[in-house]
Amino acid sequence: METIHLSPVDLSIASGLVLALAVVTGWLGLAVSRRVIIAAIRTTIQLSLVGIVLKALFAASNPLWMALVACVMLAVAAYEVRARQKRRFRGGWSFGIGGVSMFLSSFAVTVLMLLTVVQPTPWYEPRYAIPLLGMMTGNTMTGIALGLNQLSNTAFDARATIEAQLTLGSSGAESIHDIRNDAIRTGLIPMLNSMAAAGVVSLPGMMTGQILAGNAPGEAVRYQILIMFMIAAGTGFGVMAAVFIGARRLFDERDRLRLDRLK
């Protein structure tokens, strides 16, 4: 079975639908027509650029280029983690915690899977490495951002309760124990939900793509299960690493609660 190629005419039919949406929302005075158009244009430009980059990357298959792209993906994801915090750690710590924990989890899991399970030649073959890494960072990023945000918000609100325990001689780790565990759970919920709903409520994007591209459903399902397990492990370990580092950072070497490290 061959992929059915899309011509510019095919895409203009789809873009006609978006234009119609913009016109209708304009008539109804919803004041989102402009945003619909701008978002559609952004999608087109961004994806076209990514297409060009990926085409060059696949053609070159150079480990240095691959490493560079991976670092850019990590930095963008770490920036996203930072941007989603209501109360950030000062001095670049939000960016750093996000970056380090994603490096430890999504990078490690992706490399492990490439080396032992998928085994393309060479192992960093961009056609496999880039999509896998992209899906991993995208998902761990969401979990880490949620977990860290929950940690710092709850700690901020529960200041007096945490300090009551410190006052009676508890360590920082003991006083933040429950809050830390709640934050880890919060970070894991999106991943758990998507695993539980996969295939029943939603057909995962990658599997849909593979089926559209002509792969047998059985093959697509096996890849999707692999991805789901990678995401589960990556998100789980990533969220734990991020929340543990974050909870440590909330206390200083004298086990004082240091909310002045948040802004």
């Binding site: 007096a160 309760t161 300090e163 009551a164 006052t167 009676l168 004298r254 004082r256």
Partner: protein
């Protein structure tokens, strides 16, 4: 011997403070609201970063961990906080707290925290602090929410603890008569500056 020696302690808002509370004695601290009483106590309990040194029984704060210091120097904030549902969760196991001295039955350990009155909270907060047997006490208005009878019981309990444990007590209070009753020395704090009265 558990004297509390404060040596040029200062933070951004209070100090420098230098004074000593002898073992087994009580010093009263008072001053207008906003003068830094609570901030000074927080620094002495090592809850806020500060310069200078504090010693209990001759051992410097910097020579032990923060949690160990706070176990030895018990700080009672004006408002008590409770992190678990029942009163008993906040006391060490096999606690020897003297509940009767503040008018509680032993079954108070099974009570739910959210059903306590503000006065009960304040008395139980003192008991949960004393249950950990600190060597020195930093008490921030320990009778503020209490009627005169409960207040007198708290004074008696602190006096008894001070004598039996030879503990140094620093007592923040607004009531002049009470300060005269419980303390042998008085400190006044204004705009963060300490003076001996």
């Amino acid at each position: 011997m558990s004297a509390l020696a404060v040596d040029t302690v200062h933070t951004m808002h209070v100090g420098p403070a230098t004074f000593e509370v002898a073992a087994g004695s009580c010093t009263a601290l008072w001053g207008p609201s906003g003068s830094g009483k609570s901030l000074l106590l927080r620094a002495l309990a090592d809850l806020d970063p500060h310069d200078g040194e504090v010693r209990v029984d001759g051992t410097a704060q910097s020579a032990m961990s923060g949690p160990e210091w706070r176990r030895r120097v018990g700080y009672l904030p004006t408002e008590s906080r409770w992190w678990a549902p029942s009163v008993g969760d906040h006391f060490p196991p096999e606690s020897t707290a003297s509940f009767a001295s503040l008018g509680f039955e032993p079954d108070v350990l099974a009570w739910q925290v959210d059903r306590l009155s503000s006065g009960e909270r304040q008395r139980l907060a003192l008991l949960r602090l004393l249950a950990r047997q600190p060597e020195a006490l930093l008490l921030d208005e320990p009778t503020a929410n209490l009627d005169s009878e409960s207040g007198a019981r708290v004074e008696a309990l602190v006096n008894e603890y001070r004598a039996s444990h030879n503990a140094a007590v620093l007592w923040v209070g607004h009531d002049r008569e009470q300060r005269a009753r419980i303390a042998t020395a008085q400190l006044r704090i204004d705009a963060g500056k300490i003076e001996v009265v």
